[in-house]
């Protein structure tokens, strides 16, 4: 079974792990970041800024609870504003983590071993940010638990025929499975940290978290079976989550929503933005913590190629949407296309095409695919583009539908922006904490990449 970790046949490309490393050096290098490296001023400053941003988010949410959703830019006809845009954006970002940890494991792409841990952390934190939005968007967030089927004195049950209800189950299952996958992946590494630390209280904490892992062959066998099965379960799950998110739109009759291309196009867009976020995190992390030996050029290249491929699927999605606007002969669909290109929100549509389709084509150039700076910038552009995509789907579709009498405009308020930027702050704050207390790269999976790990019968 551990064949999925082996890399001996892939010598022709840039290495997954720089030559000269042993089990000992890999272990020491990764665990030292957590155990012995002191927190620098830079870390405290970054953490402080993002902590303040998180407080800003809590303030905005507190004011929302006090006043109601009237403080936002939402209105009728645009009942879904920033909250849903941000929800879809965040949950999409999370998908790359699952793709890396589960789908690439099943496809035996062993290069994933150096980036899966923090990509999974990214998934969890992104889902945490995503989960905030629907909960506060319901208007009375203290009643959000009504979404779950629980026996209540009103004797009613949720409406299971609604995609919004499916979403509750899809997203909560996704959050649970992602957390389990991440935590069980950490168990052997907790044992490593337990055995490496010299401080007693640190030893106790990691010892408890490791569940007393001792690396027995029987334990490893069951562990690997579980890991593979979880990957097999997470793969259809991650595809289902963004499919269900797209159903929230596609099942409605609003022009610009009611289309069958949505599920695949949403999933591709999710992976597109997720890999962009992975690169935006990986590039500074490998530089600051000196992990260029483990997160090599190969990882940057491969991520860039995934972005290029998913970006083209997304471009195809835009193309089909535009084509169907014309080909269907439906005047409302045709108007939606016209309105995107020439309506009041036209600049955001043109910016979307530039960010998501035109600029990322520079990734065809090998030199830019291997340049951390270029990749960092292109990834930032893609993240902006993918946010604009959701803005166009949600707001631009809703603001002008069938009847001119019900047209309207949406202007986000400062509370919308505070909440949105606040979640970015929370995401990065959690990432900062993660880097300090948990091994950012899976130590035991890195060991399996070394040639010494191979055993002949």
């Amino acid at each position: 079974m551990p064949e999925q970790y082996k890399s001996s046949t892939e010598i022709q490309r840039a290495p997954v792990i720089a030559p000269g490393h042993t089990f000992g050096t890999v272990t020491e290098k990764i665990s030292a970041i957590v155990l012995t490296r002191p927190a620098t001023n830079g870390w405290f400053i970054g953490f402080g800024i993002f902590f303040l941003a998180t407080m800003m988010m809590l303030y905005a949410i507190g004011y929302l609870v006090l006043k109601g959703t009237g403080i936002w830019g939402v209105n009728i006809p645009i009942g879904w504003g920033f909250a849903i845009v941000n929800f879809v954006w965040w949950i999409g970002i999370g998908h790359a983590g699952t793709l890396i940890s589960a789908i690439l494991l099943l496809l035996r792409q062993s290069w994933r071993n150096s980036i899966n841990r923090f990509a999974e952390a990214m998934t969890l934190f992104a889902v945490a940010c995503a989960g905030i939005f629907p909960a506060i968007h319901v208007g009375r967030p203290w009643l959000a638990y009504w979404l779950f089927p629980y026996p209540n004195t009103m004797r009613v049950w949720p409406q299971f025929r609604s995609p919004l209800m499916w979403d509750v189950f899809a997203v909560s299952t996704y959050a649970t499975i992602s957390a389990l996958f991440w935590f069980t992946g950490l168990i052997p590494d907790f044992a490593t940290l337990r055995d490496r630390t010299e401080k007693r209280w640190v030893k106790i904490i990691y010892g408890m978290l490791s569940f007393g892992w001792r690396g027995s062959a029987r334990h490893w066998h069951r562990y690997e079976t579980m890991y593979l099965l979880l990957a097999g379960l997470a793969t259809p799950l991650v595809l289902s989550v963004h499919t269900v998110v797209s159903f929230d739109f596609a099942v409605g009759i609003v022009p610009g929503w009611h289309t069958t291309i949505f599920p695949p196009y949403f999933v591709a867009g999710a992976i597109y933005s997720g890999f962009a976020m992975v690169l935006m995190l990986a590039i500074p992390i490998r530089k600051i913590y000196g992990l260029e030996d483990f997160i090599t050029e190969r990882h940057l290249q491969n991520s860039a190629k995934v972005m290029l491929a998913t970006g083209l699927i997304v471009a195809y999605g835009y193309g089909i949407e535009a084509f169907m606007g014309w080909y269907s002969g439906d005047r409302y669909d045709a108007f939606t296309l016209w309105n995107r290109l020439h309506g009041p929100y036209a600049p955001s549509y043109w910016a979307l095409l530039i960010c998501n389709i035109f600029i990322p084509q520079v990734l065809w150039i090998r030199k830019l695919r291997t340049s951390p700076w270029a990749l960092f910038l292109v990834s930032g552009v893609i993240l902006v583009g993918m946010w604009l995509e959701r803005f166009i789907i949600v707001v631009v579709s809703l603001h002008r539908d069938f009847l001119t009498s019900s047209w309207g405009m949406y202007y986000a308020t400062r509370w919308d922006y505070m909440t949105y930027f606040g979640t970015i702050g929370m995401f990065l704050m959690l990432m900062f904490l993660f880097l300090r207390v948990l091994p950012a790269i899976s130590i035991f999976e890195m060991r399996t990449l070394l040639p010494e790990a191979e055993v002949k019968e």
Binding site: M1, T22, W166, A170, F211, W213, G215, R218, H221, V455
Partner: protein, 179 residues
């Protein structure tokens, strides 16, 4: 019940994964059945070498998944068609196609939780204390060393003889594990 042996087992330390696999095979072939091997990463085939032939996790996951799927579907059926039927958009109370998504999600949820709990339960984890941790060198089992233990509860176990046998496997060191 026999008096508890003050020695839990004899442990040999090896430098490489290959040495551990070879030693485990020879020990098992020599007739020792109650043995275990420890490594800092999963080694293919090692569990089979020390006599593990059945993995309970896949069946656990299958059962968990089936229970999850049934729970998901029956929950929706009972709530929408039996306990409180509501006419929504003229759809029948038992509108099964709409129930598929949640049935699927519940299948994955239950199967995933069973995988993790099953792995932990069959491995006997969490177990914060274990006699092998009494050996100071065992801390390297989570870094770059490989260990093989013969438990004193093995029928063929004999303190001196087992020790001699393990020494014959050219280990880096040998230690007694106090229980």
């Amino acid at each position: 019940m026999a008096k508890r042996d003050p020695i839990y087992g004899i442990m040999a330390e090896f430098d490489s994964a290959q040495a551990l696999v070879d030693a485990a095979r020879k020990t098992h072939e020599a007739g020792y059945k109650k043995i275990d091997a420890y490594s800092p990463f999963p080694i293919e085939g090692l569990a089979e070498e020390i006599g593990m032939h059945f993995d309970e996790v896949p069946l656990t996951v299958l059962i968990g998944g089936i229970i999850g799927g049934c729970t998901g579907y029956l929950m929706q059926y009972w709530m929408s068609a039996v306990d409180y039927p509501l006419n929504i958009g003229g759809k029948p109370p038992h509108s099964w196609p709409a129930f598929i998504v949640i049935t699927f999600e519940m299948t994955i949820l239950f199967a995933g939780i069973s995988a993790v709990l099953g792995m932990l339960a069959f491995n006997g984890l969490p177990m914060p204390y274990h006699p092998v941790f009494n050996v100071p060198r065992f801390a390297l089992a989570s870094k770059d060393r490989f260990f093989l233990i013969v438990f004193s509860s093995d029928k063929k176990y004999n303190a001196a003889e087992t020790r001699r046998f393990l020494e014959g496997l050219a280990p880096r060191s040998i230690s007694e594990v106090p229980s």
